[in-house]
């Protein structure tokens, strides 16, 4: 009797663990099956490179959406990475001990704010701000509903993720290393530049890729400010679209099977992209763990 219960519990936990595998497989298979119609009709590569999205003629292509996703993600990373590094370094090396905790908590709260809140705030405040103050700096006119605003919200969202990992990584640098450098007369900048950053670079790279994965798949923060205009924008201050924005805006209104299937195919492409980046990040972070 005892044995039976013992085995029962073991298999119960095993079943739950296998469930996790089933979810990942299920996502992959269901996305593939549902996008099969679009793949068969247009071809995977042709779909990814076509610029036409015309529901009335039943012709669909994903390039502007894929383009928007990639451009907004890269721009967000370009803005976020230096700032996040600065915050991480500030938190672990410069901030007075007294303020370290409240400051850390504040940055973590920034990460906890729901993305729909970012989206709403961006629509009512950031977009007008970009339109009034930032776009004129580049000599551009925009309503604020544009790729740049979307990238800026994404950047604000991923800054705390990168910053928190950078802070932890720097906190874990052995004191002996830093102190030997200080002992040689190095100043703070030199210690960070020549000791801390080289020591933590793999973790930081992992953090950046992880943030990249998050920016790729973010929906609600950008859906209000991207514009959902299906074309490749000529400037960052023009509206565009992205994979997530396209799906969020049109999925429930897709009235034909091919329309739905094309949106599923966009989702499938997004899944493959983020899966690849997350695996890459895992390789970087794992490597580090083995070394340590």
């Amino acid at each position: 009797m005892k044995k039976i219960l013992d085995n029962f519990y073991k298999y119960l936990t095993l079943f739950a663990a296998i469930f996790v595998i089933l979810i990942v497989l299920g996502i992959f298979i269901s996305l593939y099956l549902n996008s099969k119609l679009a793949i068969d009709t247009f071809g995977f590569i042709k779909f990814a490179l076509s610029k036409v999205w015309n529901p009335s003629k039943e012709i669909y292509g994903g390039l502007p959406a894929i383009f928007g996703t990639i451009v907004s993600t890269i721009l967000a990373l370009l803005i976020a990475t230096p700032i996040a590094l600065g915050i991480g370094i500030f938190l672990s090396e410069i901030c007075p001990q007294k303020f370290k905790n409240p400051f850390s908590t504040a940055i973590e709260l920034l990460a906890a704010i729901p993305s729909i809140i970012y989206g709403m705030w961006a629509l009512f405040f950031l977009a007008p701000f970009v339109s009034k103050y930032i776009a004129p700096l580049f000599g551009a006119h925009t309503t604020g509903i544009c790729i740049f605003t979307a990238s800026l919200v994404l950047a604000i969202m991923i800054i705390p993720y990168i910053a928190a990992i950078v802070r932890d990584a720097i906190d874990n640098v052995p004191n002996v290393l830093k102190e030997s450098a200080y002992g040689l007369g190095a100043n703070k900048y030199e210690v960070v530049r020549h000791v801390i950053l080289p020591y933590t670079k793999t973790v930081i790279l992992g953090a950046i890729i992880l943030a990249l994965g998050r920016a790729l798949g973010e929906t609600m923060a950008v859906t209000f400010v991207m514009g959902n205009v299906f074309k490749i924008p000529q400037s960052l201050f023009e509206p565009g679209t992205s994979i997530t924005v396209k799906i969020a805006n049109e999925f429930n209104e897709a009235y034909t099977d091919l329309y739905t299937s094309s949106l599923f195919l966009l989702g499938f492409i997004l899944f493959i992209m983020s899966f690849a980046f997350i695996s890459l990040a895992k390789v970087f972070i794992l490597k580090r763990k083995i070394k340590a």
Binding site: K3, S30, I83, I116, L210
Partner: protein, 282 residues
């Protein structure tokens, strides 16, 4: 000369890191300030008792239906997600340990944590909405559960692995079978850590919108039917914020205020549990 350049570089470095910190705080305060001001100025206690107003009317109406719907969907997700997450984490830490298959599950679970939430929405649409022909609260809850499972798996796995071996051995020496040792000894020792993880996971899913768009959808009426579309705070904010009607926008701000307070409070609670535990151990 070189000395001077070194000094200038160092000063620039300080300026840059402090600027970064201020940049981060600036946006945090800007967002929080907006939410609080807009939330409070539009707030009225009737939001807890009334339902959605007609668009464009003078009446603010209320969010009762969305708050109740939100609690139902998130509550159901918790009921599904916590047992599966904790059990799977238990398998990894207590039974599977470092075998090949366990490490594969660990990796997949970590990857699942970062799968875009809108993709999970599409997945649930494919398996729970399309076959049954209707959006449903259940579908929304399952989508959210899938988002919380990998977080709980990870934290359970980590926390159980940190429980000292001696504690388990003492229990085994008393003749307790493994499942009793796990449920009565190891779980208790790891409780604070697991609870922290659960609080953070709930905070994460409570703020999700994208996985609900094609699953629980939305509804402007009070409903308790789990097999029908159900309103949630996040979907309601999405709908109202994007609308041109002043009273709907006002309600969206109030909803955003309630949601933000709830999510941030859960986060702080999680941190508090972890903090208290750390003090006890010292």
């Amino acid at each position: 000369m070189g000395e001077k350049i070194r000094k200038i570089k160092n000063i620039l470095f300080y300026v840059f890191t402090i600027f970064s910190a201020v940049f981060g705080l600036f946006f945090l305060f800007w967002i929080l300030f907006t939410i609080v001001i807009k939330g409070i100025t539009n707030f009225n206690f009737q939001v807890f008792f009334k339902d959605a107003p007609p668009p464009g009317s003078e009446d603010l109406g209320g969010l009762r239906y969305a708050i109740v719907g939100h609690f139902i969907i998130v509550g159901l997700a918790i009921l599904i997600g916590i047992p599966i997450g904790v059990l799977a984490g238990t398998y990894l830490a207590e039974y599977g340990k470092d075998s090949k298959i366990t490490n594969i599950i660990r990796t997949l679970s970590d990857i699942l944590t970062s799968v875009p939430s809108i993709i999970v929405g599409l997945f649930i649409y494919a398996i729970l909405v399309k076959p049954f022909g209707s959006f449903s609260a259940i579908a929304g809850a399952v989508a959210l559960a899938i988002l919380m499972i990998p977080i709980i798996v990870r934290v359970t796995d980590d926390m159980l692995s940190m429980v000292p071996k001696e504690l388990r051995e003492a229990a085994y020496a008393l003749g307790a079978p493994k499942w009793i040792v796990i449920t009565k000894v190891t779980y208790r020792a790891a409780l604070a850590g697991i609870l922290t993880g659960i609080a953070l996971a709930v905070a994460r899913i409570a703020g999700e919108t994208a996985p609900l768009i094609f699953t629980s959808f939305n509804n402007n009426y009070f409903s308790l039917d789990l097999t029908k579309p159900m309103a949630s705070l996040t979907m309601t904010i999405y709908q109202f914020a994007g609308s041109p009607f002043k009273n709907w926008q006002a309600l969206a701000w109030v909803g955003a205020f309630i949601l933000t307070i709830f999510v941030l409070a859960l986060n702080l609670l999680g941190k508090y549990i972890a903090h208290k535990k750390a003090h006890k151990m010292r």
